[in-house]
Symmetry: C2
Subunit: 336 residues, 2 copies
C-alpha cells in the first residue's frame, strides 16, 4: 500500500539482498500486489510481480498502473486487500494524524481478511493503536510497526527484546529529526525562520511543516513507544504537547550560558504522563544529539539509563525496518 | 562460581524479583551450589539454598562455607561441577587475561558435564572463545556472556537481535569505563597520575590498574564483541592495542583546540582489523561520552550508524545481564 520512497526502497533492498535473505532467514518475499495513488495492480501468478520492472514503470510513468502486462490485472484497493493471496500487507501511505486515513481502513481491512500487517504509517497507530492491536490478536495475525519510530533505528525492538528480566520505568527522547535540525541550526545562530527555511531547502521539512514543528509527529511516536514498551493503551489525545514555534534565540542563548541545550523532548514519566515539549538538557547528556539524529533514553530498574542514537528517517533505513518486521513475522508464524 | 559483588547482586535481584520473574517468564531459579575462594557448598535437596541466609553468612563470615546446615554439604569445586544436579553454572570469578584461570577450567568442566554456562568473566572468552563456543555446540549446551561487555548495557543482544535483515559492517566503542573516567578528568585539567588516583579513590580502578589503562580490558571486550556480532574467531592475540599511559595534558589540549576529544577507542574495521588505541574524536560524535559510561557505534549497511550508551559496570547492572542470559537460555531450551 503506497509506492513512495519507502516502499520503493524496500523493493530495491529485496532486489539487492534476496539471496542473502534466503540464505540467512529462509525467506523469499514476493510482491503480489502494489497500490499507489493512481490505482493498484495484482499479479495473476504466484510468482509475483517483476521487481525491476515495477521500479522502472514507477520511475518512467509515475504510477504502477502502467505495469500493464499479461501477468497482472488492474484492481481496486478494496478488492486487492480482500482477494489477493498475500500473507502480509505493507502499509506505507502518507501519515494523516486527523483521521488516520487511508491507512487506517487499509489496516483494518487487511487484518479482517487475515493478513499480517507491517505499517510505517504512524497515523492509524497514533489514533487507534489499542484497538488495532486487539483486532489483530482477535484475528490471530501479527501487526508490526518498527519503522514508525526512529526510522531504521530499532528503538522499539531494543526496548522489547534487549531488556528481558529488567523493567523500563520511564523514557525520554528526541523523536523528531526535523525539529532537532532546526534547533541545532538555531544553536549556531540562525533565527527560527531561517533555520526552518534551511530545513525546507534540505528536504527535511514539508511545505506545511506543522506536523513536525508543532510536535504532532513526536507525540505520535511517543504514543506508539509508550504502548509497545510499557504496555500503555494511549492515543494522541492522551499527550500534552507543544512544539518549538515559540523558541527564540534568547532562550537558546540563556540555556547555553548554563551549559544547557534546548531540545524537543518526548517523555513518558514513571507515573505514565505523556508529554512533548521543548526542554533544556545538559550538553553532556547522551541524549543531546545534533542535526537530524534521533535519540532515546530508557530508564531501567536494574541496568540504569540506556541511550540509543541513530538516524530517525530515510527511505532505505525505514525499508530496513520493514524487512526486520517481515523476518519477525516469519519467525512468529513458524513458532505457532 | 565466585560469590563476589556480582553474584551477590544476582541473589539480591532474585530475592526482590522472584514472583515477577515467575509471572513473566515462567522461571523460578534455585541456587543449588555456591563456591567462593574459601570453598564450596552444595544443597542436599532440590529446594536449593536459602538465598537470604546465603547473603547473611557471606556478609558475616566472609565465605559461604559457614552456611553449614543440614540442608547442604561441603564440596570441592570439581565435585560440585560434576555432581550437582544443576542446569546452569554462573561463572563470576575474577578475570585473568594471562591464562583465563580458574574460570576457563570451570567453564570447560561445566560444558563437558552438560551444564549451560553464563559467564561474566572475560578471561576465558578473550583467550579461547572460538573453541569454547565449539565445545558448547558439540555438547549441545548454551554458553552466554552478556555481562562481559557493557555491564548491564545489552550491547551484544542489541547487535544480535535488533538488526535482523541488516548487516553490521564495522563498529567502534568506548568499552572501558575506568580509562574513560581518567580521560574525562584529564579533560578537566587533572594530570594522568592525579586522575588515576582519583579513579582509585572512587573505586573505579584496581590497586594494579594495568588491565584498564594498558588496554587489556577493552581488547578483551573487543574480541568478545567481534566474535559474537560479526562471527569472527579471534582471541586477544589478534588485537593490536595500546593504552592511555602516554597521554599527556598537551595532547588533550591540542585536540580540544580542534573540537576533538581523546578517547580510548576499541574498533573492528570493515576488513576485520581489531585495534584498541587512544583516538581523537569529534566532541559532537554520539560516541563521545564522559565519566565511566560505555558507548558503542555499530555501522550497519542499511540503517546507518547506531550508537548505544550505558553504564559499563556495577554489581546490580551486571547481575541484570546474568538474569537476561538465564531467561534466554530458558527460551532456547524450551524451543529445542
Amino acid at each position: 500500500m503506497g509506492f513512495g520512497v519507502v516502499n520503493q526502497s524496500l523493493v530495491k533492498l529485496l532486489l539487492s539482498r534476496m539471496d542473502d535473505i534466503y540464505a540467512r532467514y529462509g525467506m523469499k518475499p514476493r510482491i503480489v500486489g502494489v497500490a499507489d495513488s493512481k490505482g493498484s495492480i495484482v499479479s495473476r501468478s504466484m510468482q509475483g510481480l517483476d521487481l525491476k520492472r515495477l521500479l522502472e514503470v514507477k520511475r518512467v510513468y509515475g504510477s504502477v498502473v502502467k505495469y500493464n502486462s499479461n501477468e497482472c490485472k488492474l484492481s481496486s484497493i478494496d478488492e486487492m486487500i480482500e482477494d489477493v493471496d498475500a500473507e502480509v500487507m505493507v502499509e506505507a501511505t502518507p501519515t494523516n494524524l486527523k483521521d488516520g486515513e487511508p491507512g487506517l481502513t487499509h489496516i483494518i481491512n487487511a487484518i479482517r481478511h487475515k493478513k499480517h500487517v507491517v505499517t510505517v504509517n504512524k497515523g492509524p497507530l497514533a489514533l487507534a493503536m489499542p484497538s488495532l492491536i486487539e483486532l489483530a490478536e482477535y484475528n490471530n495475525v501479527v501487526l508490526r510497526f518498527s519503522g514508525t519510530v526512529g526510522g531504521g533505528t530499532p528503538i522499539l525492538e531494543f526496548a522489547k527484546h534487549c531488556l528481558k528480566g529488567d523493567r523500563i520505568l520511564s523514557f525520554r527522547g528526541i523523536l523528531n529529526g526535523t525539529t532537532n535540525y532546526i534547533l541545532s541550526m538555531m544553536e549556531q545562530g540562525l533565527s527560527f525562520n531561517d533555520a526552518l527555511n534551511d530545513a525546507r531547502a534540505k528536504g527535511y521539512a514539508e511545505a506545511d511543516p506543522s506536523l513536525d514543528i508543532d510536535g504532532y509527529d513526536a507525540a505520535a511516536k511517543l504514543v506508539i513507544t509508550a504502548n509497545w514498551v510499557i504496555g500503555m493503551k494511549s492515543t494522541l489525545n492522551d499527550v500534552r504537547f507543544e512544539g518549538i514555534r515559540n523558541i527564540k534565540q534568547e532562550h537558546i542563548l540563556d540555556a547555553k550560558s548554563k551549559g544547557l541545550v534546548i531540545k524537543l523532548i518526548a517523555s513518558c514519566s514513571e507515573d505514565r504522563e505523556l508529554i512533548v515539549k521543548p526542554m533544556a538538557i545538559d550538553k553532556h547528556d547522551p541524549l543531546c544529539v545534533n542535526g537530524t539524529l534521533n535519540a532515546i533514553t530508557f530508564v531501567s530498574e536494574h541496568s540504569g539509563e540506556l541511550t540509543l542514537i541513530g538516524k530517525g528517517a530515510g527511505g532505505i533505513e525505514t525499508a530496513s525496518a520493514i524487512l526486520r518486521d517481515l523476518i519477525e513475522i516469519r519467525e512468529v508464524i513458524s513458532r505457532s
